[in-house]
Symmetry: C2
Subunit: 465 residues, 2 copies
């Protein structure tokens, strides 16, 4: 057999895509299907997404030719736009099959994304008891533990032996989301312990579940935020986490594969928020799928808010118009001072925001953080001031007073911006606002205004105006 | 039993910390140990880190009182500073035990972090054959798949029955990193298939491994970057991934718990790079642990590079000094124009960088991305221009020509910055530079200069200077 060094999906996909597009052009649908079946379900979904963009309906035809069991897995992985297209075209019988066979948590994810009329169509096809459970799950807030979990876990009884438990796992395992962690409940459906499959496998057949189960375990509530759940997985390295209701009844479990998606979503959200992009749309849709007008809606608010803050900065400048018209060379250094203040503040904010996100920094570390930024700001401010003094006075031969004005301002604003940049995320955290959302606009508006005031005040002092 | 709604570690830790600090002050070490043992290993490590900060050596005493098996797990979770302190204080026999019992991949992680003299001390205590393997693993590049993997996986033979395989898992399972995915190798140690424990559990005892194993599977090479490995986990939802050498021999596996740490590290790196913080230090150390001087070293380069770019901007402004001294009110709108250009460019860059990171956008999407940003820029530019026209001409009653100058500049630079912001990450990707590293400095330096040139050119046109 010939192996490449690593499984390079990009390459395989490119080749497969070309072959498939060729076959589709020749209307050789069955051959195209055989070609696409060489890939894993997530890759098949990727290829169908691409075919949809280039060839439209041919993707749906190809999807319908997939073997039934595979079509379910592929459907779960498609973008919601493609899912809607497929739901609108396939027969009710096909839809019924897909919905029936899908993992419960995937079903919930998809139903949350689809438009209401399609959801109704799907719920009609669902058995009554399951429909009730779906509705319960759909009611959990969008980013709660409840919206992530699946009820398809394995329950064991504490009086069972290992042999009995293993037989149970064998019997019901195929339908469970994971068999690697099993849950022990009392008569009132309260969670009393967890036991991993690896414990079962390495234990003697006659041992009792109640002697093997761990009664100290980590769990979260259905209404906890998905970020809290994700943090547990990162900290403890779990494969699954039990989710309980107010009475400590086990209502579902969250598995690590779903957490990987949550972390990706949350990271995207933080990245975007830190750089002034909001997310009125669902986080799950990609950049290319979001229409232009939604991109505009996601980006305008922050720009408009900042623009208002520039009015303040502008009015500070307006006060010094006489000074500026007299000493117009002062303007040359304004972009550098304002830019450096913003950049240096955003460096500090980034580190503190990230420290808060990973749990390293909490609001009680405020003194340690400020003392660190104060010292960092002192050194950076001093270095940048000296570099500028050398440049302005020695290299460019500008007047000594101009050089001193610029350098004294630089030192002061760097110190200020470092402390400001570290403070704002901590303040936001204290006020329970997402630090990623507030930090950069707050820093840039405050630091711009303070920079202008500092600079022109220094100019007034040193130039004796 | 009384349950809170969710397992709130923060609260439990605070309470435990207080009790432990009290007990330590009374020198009741054994009681303090009993208290700390109520927590999980990662939480014990957190508490010890905190005690170390407040009480110094008492943390080491407490560590040495932990039961041996737990001390191994806790040691793996400690910060490398604390690990070094402990290694320097404990007896050789204690160190020997800890190193012997630690998971292989944790051992490698720790040895990579510790100073050379401590590593030598540890390697002396290691049996010869393992020492050889440790040295091989230590030689894989820091962020490669090889540096993440563990050789402690379960190998099965293709001629075995399920019953034989399950017995094997039972026998060796305790020492394996995971028993949930098992690997089938041929006589030449080449990987020929994988089979999950869930398949084994639900299959008949007499079935043959060769009939159950999957021969189409995803794998990576030892030298592949950890980001590639992490992307596989996110895409396919694996619990473990096989890592092979050039001859397709299985050399180790990477498990999902380690991938969660990789994703956190990589996210931190991207966050920092996008906001101008480099990482000459290892990514694993936290903000609070990094000394002031290293913080300065990580932040200065970007600020100095940008400062050089401000020299260019400054020289553009210098050319228009006469115009500025004549029309000093032009300066009032400069911060707004430069700030908006930078912000709007960084919005576009953020979305494209994140799209590249999650695999949604590739360099071949350049036309789609540009066309999207062109349209988004057009609308945003138009809206912001109109808002400003209203503000400057209607509200502030400035001359019409000033309003037109500002608004025409605003429209032009927003369009420019959007396209620039989207282009630079794609260009960086094409040149195999990390887009997160280059995007913001490149955008802010180019957009500042272009903004000044545009603004003053427009001013010259509309004010007829």
């Amino acid at each position: 057999m010939n192996y490449s060094n690593s499984y390079d999906f990009e390459e395989i996909r490119e080749e497969t895509m070309e072959r498939i597009l060729g076959l589709l052009n020749d209307k050789k649908y069955f051959k195209a299907r055989d070609e696409i079946l060489k890939l894993n379900a997530p890759d098949i979904a990727d290829v169908l997404d691409e075919i949809e963009q280039e060839e439209g309906e041919k993707a749906v035809i190809l999807f319908r030719l997939l073997p039934k069991d595979i079509s379910v897995d592929v459907f779960s992985e498609l973008s919601s736009d493609d899912q809607i297209k497929i739901v609108n075209i396939i027969t009710d019988k096909e839809l019924e099959y897909i919905i029936k066979e899908m993992d419960f948590d995937d079903k919930i994810d998809i139903l949350e994304e689809l438009p209401a009329n399609v959801v109704d169509k799907i719920l009609e096809k669902t058995p009554k008891n399951e429909r009730k459970m779906i509705n319960t799950f759909l009611n959990y807030p969008d980013t709660s533990a409840g919206s992530l979990m699946t009820p398809d876990y394995i329950s064991l009884q504490k009086e069972w032996t290992v042999a009995r438990a293993m037989q149970h796992v064998k019997d019901v395992g195929m339908d469970a989301e994971t068999i690697y962690t099993c849950y022990v409940k009392d008569a009132g459906r309260k969670l009393i312990g967890i036991v991993s499959l690896s414990t079962l496998v390495v234990s003697d057949d006659n041992e009792m579940i109640k002697d093997l189960m761990r009664t100290e375990y980590v769990y979260e509530s259905v209404y906890d935020d998905q970020e809290v759940v994700a943090a547990d997985f990162v900290k403890y390295g779990f494969l699954a986490l039990p989710i309980v209701d107010n009475e400590h009844r086990l209502v579902g479990i969250v598995t690590v594969d779903d957490i990987l998606d949550v972390i990706e979503e949350e990271t995207t959200e933080d990245f975007e928020r830190m750089n002034g992009v909001l997310d009125f749309d669902t986080v799950e849709r990609g950049y290319l799928d979001i229409p232009v007008i939604k991109h505009v809606i996601n980006r305008l608010p922050w720009l408009v808010i900042l623009m208002v803050s520039y009015v303040v900065t502008g009015s500070v400048i307006a006060k010094y118009e006489v000074l500026i018209s007299d000493q117009s060379s002062l303007v040359v250094y304004m972009p550098m001072l304002m830019g450096t203040a913003g950049n240096t503040g955003s460096q500090a904010a980034t580190l503190v925001i990230r420290g808060i996100a990973t749990g390293e920094i909490s609001t009680k570390d405020v003194v340690r953080v400020l003392s660190k930024e104060f010292r960092v700001g002192f050194i950076i401010g001093a270095v940048l001031s000296m570099l500028n003094f050398f440049r302005i006075w020695v290299l460019e031969g500008e007047p000594f007073t101009i050089a001193v004005t610029v350098c004294a301002s630089m030192f002061a604003i760097v110190m200020f911006a470092k402390v400001l940049g570290a403070m704002i995320p901590l303040l936001a955290k204290l006020c329970k606002i997402d630090p990623a959302l507030i930090a950069n606009p707050a820093i840039s508006s405050i630091s711009d205004t303070v920079t202008c005031m500092t600079y022109f005040t220094m100019a007034a002092i040193f130039l004796g105006v």
